[in-house]
């Protein structure tokens, strides 16, 4: 099983994400934003956290228009798997692969701490290792994680069971406590919290490792 991790100028969680994939048994290839093709035989694309292009204009906006993101979009449209974490989630909304947008945190503060997440569904390769209703603890580190979408979009996300994670104690003002959402085919996950920072005993928390472990197992069966 092979994963590609996209690297933009300003990405800073790319190696952590690669390590999360590797520990789960995936081969990882790093892919530069100027590349015009994904490596062949890729099973999943990871878009990491960080501050791509310095967060200029809007978080993720310039990255979303980089050459590799056209390929990521085509990959998703073909039914390929992808996960975007933090800035990667912002990129996925800016490319319109996922609906909605991430606004400045309601309290205007950059928040860096571990938060509780309720698992809201378990019918995707990313979440099937968790129980619905289970609370896990995953770190967040963002200034612009306040998820918003119009009411019709939010209703549709809920009706289709596409909210993957909700904050137990909403830290950033996100609509309906949303911390992560799935695409309509459930093959693309965007989330603000960082599961790759909860993958090793040395990180003090392994709640995120299960996401990568079950993802790898599911991709092997797919």
């Amino acid at each position: 099983m092979k994963a590609a991790v996209i690297v933009f100028p300003g990405s800073n969680c790319d190696r952590d994400l690669a390590e999360g994939f590797r520990k789960a048994g995936l081969d990882v290839q790093m892919v530069w934003h100027k590349d015009t093709a994904l490596p062949s035989g890729i099973d999943i694309v990871g878009i990491p956290g960080g501050f791509s292009f310095g967060d200029y204009l809007r978080c993720g906006a310039i990255a979303a228009n980089s050459p590799i993101c056209h390929e990521v979009k085509a990959h998703a449209e073909r039914g390929g798997y992808a996960i975007g974490i933090c800035n990667g989630f912002q990129v996925l909304t800016e490319t319109k692969i996922l609906p909605g947008a991430l606004l400045r945190n309601a309290n205007l503060k950059y928040i860096c701490r571990t938060v509780g997440l309720d698992v809201a569904e378990s019918q995707s390769v990313f979440t099937q290792g968790y129980e619905v209703g289970e609370t896990i603890r995953i770190p967040i580190a963002h200034h612009d994680g306040n998820y918003t979408a119009d009411a019709a979009t939010l209703d549709a996300l809920e009706a289709e069971d596409r909210v993957a994670f909700r904050y137990t104690d909403n830290p950033n003002g996100s609509d309906r406590d949303i911390a992560g959402i799935l695409s309509s085919n459930r093959r693309v996950l965007g989330m603000m919290p960082h599961p790759e920072r909860a993958c090793d005993p040395a990180q003090g928390n392994e709640d995120g490792a299960r996401l990568f472990a079950h993802l790898t197992a599911a991709l092997a069966e797919a």
């Binding site: 906006a61 947008a101 945190n105």
Partner: protein, 76 residues
């Protein structure tokens, strides 16, 4: 020629920065301020002949996120 693009959060989208500015103004005694919305202005230096349609396309594709933002264009 130049174009000036104004990008604002749409009405109904909470603008926490505008709210913070409003609170600061109230704290300074400017009690007459009912609301503050903060946006951005982007100035473009354009080659002659670049039309408003092209600027609109730039707005749709990059300069504004129309999920949350509205924009207006001034050609000068």
């Amino acid at each position: 020629m130049k174009a000036r693009v104004h990008v604002m959060l749409k009405d109904g989208v909470l603008d926490p920065q505008g709210e913070a500015v409003k609170h600061a103004l109230h704290g300074m005694g400017f009690d007459g301020v009912g609301g503050v919305r903060q946006g951005k202005v982007i100035e473009l230096d354009l080659e002659d002949g670049t039309g408003e349609d092209a600027v609109r396309e730039m707005c749709e594709k990059l300069l504004a996120n129309t999920v949350i933002e509205s924009y207006s264009i001034e050609m000068a």
